[in-house]
Assembly symmetry: C2
Homo-oligomer: 128 residues x 2
Amino acid sequence: MVDDCPATGQSGCMDARLDMVFSALADPTRRSILAMLLEDDMAVTDVAEPFDMSLAAISKHLVILTKAGLISQEKRGRVKWCKLEPDALRDASIWMQGFGQFEAVNLDAFERFLTDELGEGDEPSLHP
Amino acid sequence: MVDDCPATGQSGCMDARLDMVFSALADPTRRSILAMLLEDDMAVTDVAEPFDMSLAAISKHLVILTKAGLISQEKRGRVKWCKLEPDALRDASIWMQGFGQFEAVNLDAFERFLTDELGEGDEPSLHP
DNA sequence: GGCTTATTCAACCAAATGGTTGACGATTGT
DNA sequence: ACAATCGTCAACCATTTGGTTGAATAAGCC
């Protein structure tokens, strides 16, 4: 009954986590927030600034991202800092790769990944 | 205005597609369907069979998966065949990998991937 | 102490989601 | 021709989602 196989999805115990991760990613605002946090940790107010939306709405988005494990929030003083937490993203990505494994063409993606990351200079350029 | 950078998410034209892919993946029923289709193409009725849910509901799920590009449906005679379409999954997975790229630990995932796929024999064993 | 800033809470709302049922068109088999 | 099977459509329903406001809590500044 433990989730022995990530592909079956049959009542696995990581189902709920995947639910949360994918539905968190399903919103463009939340994806933008993740992209912003990719560059640096940010306070809630600063996260909200570029959006045409109330602070409360952003706060709720951040709660959703936190519950999904995609970010973490640490309160220091009166400001709450948001930090990207790539593990959950990685897990979900791995899950998805399961669906490509049986196709040889899937290797394209990894070639692209590797050349993007390793071929383009030494400093970890975030997004070419 | 074209989506020049997959990380910004700023009004990129692939946003809508990612919306659809991730919200399609956010439902456990739909993920199970994908897992079933991983093993073989299936007719709609056969997809619906293991679920405790009406055929119409499954039909709707399949429409959602189709619109997201995750599966394709081809009607042959009176039965409609559903086939996994891994490209969309791969694209979304690539997008997600962007969030791991700046971390060295991300390479773990790819090591795991490579050993899983290449290390476990010649025949494309679907899911060990 | 009293103002300002940072963030959440609570109540509310419109729209989207995920399901049901029953009727319907299309295709197949006898 | 008739009946059975495959799948979708339409109408409906309950719940969730994503947003709004205004008040409330908490911390820093003068």
